[in-house]
Symmetry: D4
């Protein structure tokens, strides 16, 4: 891929169509070329369904809005995660068509969810308190043009709820499991399927959950095979990984 | 109960059958009286099926054997836990009738297992590597005269194994769940029954199990109700708690 | 128990009173049957004194009120734990008869405490700062139709307070010990009784208590036998476990 | 799938070819039916390239050999992980054709590596000390019939080594990154590709690596998107996850 | 240096110009001499470009202003770190010429940045969220009269941004690397240069970053040579260390 | 001491001046007798200079005021620690003569500081941010009738400040060292004296101080002999221990 | 004390008995003077009963023996702690009169235990497994010429054992409490006495005792007043602190 | 620097002295060119005094010897760290001139220590148990051609030892402080000098030192300015950082 750039450049030098000095200059501007490449890379991202992503946490509403606006001039869709309502209002002032998914805490523009045909990502959550993280995972995956099925509130304390949806598990391409407290759902799901399972520990719980540490350790130690873990509450990260896996199966 | 002691003492003083000084002396010897009381307490323990227990870890084989021998002169049964083979050989030299359960790492004398009628303690374990702790729990409970059923190697990675034994769960008086790694089995069992569940995390696992910490935290954060947790690898502790619960149901 | 369902179904098929297809349909609707079963399970719960429970933490007052209202249409009693005053006000608007125990932070409807006869659950707490968790444990157990005795503020720094209540300890069916700081009370109580002890570490303390970790570790390492531990501040969890134990002794 | 079982059973009952009692009996034997099902499941595993796996750690050489032998009567290939040389010698006595990959610490029988065509799993490792875990990952994936490329010793302290192999990264279906110490390699690889990245922290390091904790936390907090983490030193787990992902792309 | 003091004192005693008693008195007043020495030390600090520094965190705005004012009577420049806007307003009331760098959260008076000639300290940061700490490091170094270059937002997820600035790395005297999340930037920078690298972990991140612990451990375990680590978010500490190193190269 | 009670009781029984039943009743009321004893104990406390102490943290201002008021009816002095200004205002409404030491966050009534003669407790602190804890220690010791000297802001970064006060260290009976951050002051003080040193880690610091953990661990690992450690920020605890030591030297 | 040195020196200079240069030289040799001073300090130590102490852990038997021998030429008694049998044999070859206390793991020469009169240090231990640390504390205190009483194996699981020795507690000058597992003994002892309590957590326990962390945290969080904590298993440290306290009461 | 390569290449292409294809080939072989570059880089290392370094931990003696031998064919000096005696014997068989510093656990060939003139690195250690790490730091710095002064066993428990060597501190270019236990030495040294201080926590200590964690945290939280920390026991890392700093001052 890179070879074309080099081949072209060298050919031009050999032909004398550009001087040694000019060619050298282009090489010196490789950072800029890299910036060019970065743009091409963005195009590739868009082509493959991956939006520009802004992580709002730690940014002021104004900063978020400014970045969102400038990105929206050149790219589509745009996705901003960990956005509170104030961030959305600031974005909306700059981009009136921006939309807000309040449960997933995501701002988007220019996205349209994929239709579920026979292949889909399944997002499973343990309890209602895990829903914001699960919805972040599900919605972000949708913005990345992946069809998504949701199976929420099927924690292991009432395992028949999960067993009754065994078919949904078996037919998914990749499964995101979102659970706090003891995080046992990842192991149970992992034991019921041989599809890739992405486990998202949440900070739901109290006392000795230590902000999600209990669920995190449980998921890392899962007795089921084929479970990969992302950071605590990292719904977007799970979606990004799920998408990179899902693309393998559809192309 | 204590009142009798006081009543008798005071009566004797009132009758003049013992002098004030003698009574005072008895009170001064209360430590000794307490030791007497402690003996009575041992009798009560024996009556209720609770053996004398020696915790061998951190004792030399000779120390273990010495204590075992002296206890065996006055009590029966005797139970020594965390005993390795050398400890057993030392005990055997003093007490030729002592027996060794090598998987549970327990030495006993004078015990006879209770027959399982309709009520029993159920010991459930997740994997074969958890068996030593599970067997310690089961065997210690048997030495304490509790009928015990074993249901080993039914971890959540193959949940049908557990579901097929749902009846055993539902009919138990109290259930001990022994699991390492992510310890999810406690939550799943707790969700399938409303009997008291005693969870024993084991140090089975590697990497981020941190010597059983992962299972311990998971069990403490169980989303199922009615789960009490004992120390990592503490099979005997689980048995002692199970016995104290079991006695309520049979008396 | 389950057999009846199967027996009935198979009989009807054998009799021709329902067709194979219809029977198959019922089996396909097992999720729904499970929901039916869940209802039966609820009935069993109610029968055995176990209320529907809502965990309010992480829910908006409106969400809590909505769930509370819908449950109250079909079940009684209802118990909502970790409820602040705002949650109660929201519930009260939907269910004017709901009541609030502000110390235990519980909302209930339709509950009546059991009378203490000869058998009871004893709730022991170390200091006044542990009272909210202790009261949560005591009140929840009462809502679950268990008779409860309270013995508060008997921490080990003034051990005579505890020793003077030895009789209460000895006569209880099961004892819940609630303590923060160094959590030593669980070991001392466990040493004074052979009844099941449920230890609840609290986040009371400062500095190196690390949010209840010190008490939690102490309780897990108790030198007394027969102590099971629940999560930090988990008064409800202790009550649920105590109830499952208490039921064994009274049926 | 399950429906056939039910349909057949119900039909037979409707036809009278089996009695209600017999049918009920079969339902009671569902555990056994499940065992049948489990066998079918094994067949499915074999069909899809997944071997029977024995985790040797915590088993005696004799136990390992016994399990290995019995599995080898019915299945092929067999894979035993975390096996030391003594375990291999014990296995070899029972199964003379068994083979040992000493670096990966794996015993196998009946496996033949897949040829690398255009699709492959790439296993990248940071340093020579990470090689045993990396080789475990690579070899296990091969035993599971996945083509595997190895790119070892390309840690970030000499980043040109990695950059010069950018093409290998871009052409892989899924990438396993094995690194100890600070685990930075996962982030750098994740930044250079949009393929799924499975990060395996290793316990390589000293001092404040705390047995792999430093690398584990780093990988969980990776600033690159699309990184899933498995347990410390868990090369087999990474391989199992990689295989479940790889299968999506080749079927 | 100290010898002069002693030499003078002893000479005076030998000459009889001061009595033994007076000399003894001076020795007794050594604390005061030390205070004198401390003043001389301040002068040395000023001479070498090191300002008086006030750490504002945990001080009231009034306390900060009071200390700032009194120091400004005798010294220049003055630097106050971890200062919020209220602290600045309070200082400004006492010292109207004081200036505030809001991103670095520093108040200064009397400082003028050094011009960058051929030698400079380079401050590199991973993401925009790390900027406050990076700016604190850069600005404090400038107040200490060190020329500073900034290279912000060059995290390893897009490693070409860093590689394109390799020259800046190679020409720096000492490099401060500021990064949160997994802190991998320190290792990558350390691998690209043989200049001293000072790594500053930041508390940027969420979930299992545990307030900067992940980045801290990663930096301590860096596979690159020549990396020294300061406390989490400690931009000033990094600047102070960088300055003490930089001075070696310019004198 | 207890003997008198028993002797009297037994004598009365022997004399017939009280009946067996009455004596038995008194024994049944032993809890109350113990309460009597507790009062005598309070008298002993007051006699030895130890006040009644209320720990305000976790109590409402009203609760604090109520307890304070009732204690003040029978005892003097009264000491309330960890009291904020609102608690003081509430106490003041009930006890207009109560006084507030805002830096130590203590409310008192009826206390008068001891004069420093030749023996005293020395309270040493590292930085100005450690002053509240140091003042709590110093003031509480004063309320307990111990003479106290303060030596604040003598941290090891400017060790001459400490060395110049070596005499104060050597002449103290017992030394309380209050320090946050790295807590090195305890070791340096411990190396300069052979008097008992009580080390109080404070939560002063940021980043990897982890709320005082760094100082706590440092103090526990002190290379100096004769250092005892109390909980993080526990100025009162240090004072109580210092007082119990100081009393040995003055009686 | 130091003044004499200075006075002499200055006098000699004033008298001309030494030249300025020579005096200056002496000041330059202050390190050496300090070494002299150190010797004087040792004499003071010996005078006050404090022996020379060698910490053997991490030293070879030969190193220990070498240091022991050289110290024994000039000082008495000598104490070597954490010494195993091999260290003793090596010492014995150099110093045939050296003695070994195998339980305390201490080698000594030239020590004679103090007789217990009315004042003593009390060493209390919880279980037999804590005895080595308790004996180290007791023996080291004896070598330091403090009278010591031992009260071993009085853990809180059988609290009457402790209560029956209340008098020993009340008559001690200072109490060392040695306990592992949950460390509750420190709080109970602290509640029964107002004497200084030195708590020594031990690494006795298993599972979640985490090498003594559970006991350490418990002791730091003791609800009893007047408890100071030393490092895990640090019997010698407790003895050194106890001795520095005990000396206050006897001089 | 890199430009020359590009300029030459492009010139040759422009001149026609190499064809486009050949030039392209060279670019394709950039990995190899990079290896060439790596060699040049090694030359630069050797020129600047930096040896080839082998980290032996986790390598077999044979692996170490093999790598050592091959490096010794092309480079000098060679340094192998964390080498035990067996590693040395294996190396010696291949390279008979290799030498072993057993305290520093380093194998070298071809190194000659630099003479100390006016500039030097100072290595300070707290106790004799810290010597191996301190010697590793000192020796490695010497192998890297830096003059090194050693100041061992000057821990803060006897602070006069350090104060008497204040001059050595003040004249050093950079100071490495090696300390275990509470690590206070780094703060005290940092307070006595304004030279760069590199702090090396060691795992020396027991109990709550948690393998060097206590010293590590203390050093990170040092109240002294200008302290950078490396990994626990990482003497080599400190030397590498010290060398990169030292070079600034001498060139």
């Amino acid at each position: 891929m890179d070879k074309n750039f080099w081949t072209d450049l060298l050919k031009k030098v050999a032909e004398g169509s550009i001087s040694t000095e000019e060619a050298l200059k282009q090489l010196e501007f490789l950072p800029y070329q890299d910036l060019e490449f970065a743009k091409i890379d963005h195009h590739r991202h868009i082509r493959s369904g991956f939006p520009e992503v802004i992580f709002c946490q730690g940014k002021t509403p104004e900063q978020t809005a400014e970045i969102f606006y400038h990105l929206s001039l050149h790219h589509s869709p745009i996705l901003a995660t960990r956005a509170d309502n104030q961030a959305f209002l600031a974005v909306q002032r700059r981009c009136p068509e921006a939309q807000y998914n309040s449960e997933a805490r995501c701002i988007t523009i220019g996205h349209s969810s994929a239709e579920i045909k026979n292949k889909y990502i399944l997002v499973v959550s343990a309890g209602t308190a895990d829903s914001p993280v699960a919805e972040e995972a599900a919605f972000c995956a949708e913005v990345m043009k992946c069809p998504v099925k949701r199976l929420f509130d099927v924690g292991v304390a009432g395992i028949h709820r999960l067993l009754n949806n065994r078919e949904s598990l078996q037919n998914a391409e990749v499964i995101i499991v979102v659970a706090g407290m003891e995080g046992a759902l990842a192991s149970v799901v992992g034991g019921l399927t041989d599809k890739p399972v992405i486990a998202v520990p949440t900070s739901v719980g109290y006392g000795a959950s230590f902000g999600g540490l209990a669920a995190l350790l449980a998921m890392l130690n899962s007795c089921a095979m084929g479970v990969g873990v992302v950071n605590i509450d990292n719904g977007f990260g799970a979606a990004a990984l799920a998408r990179s896996i899902f693309r393998l199966g559809v192309t």
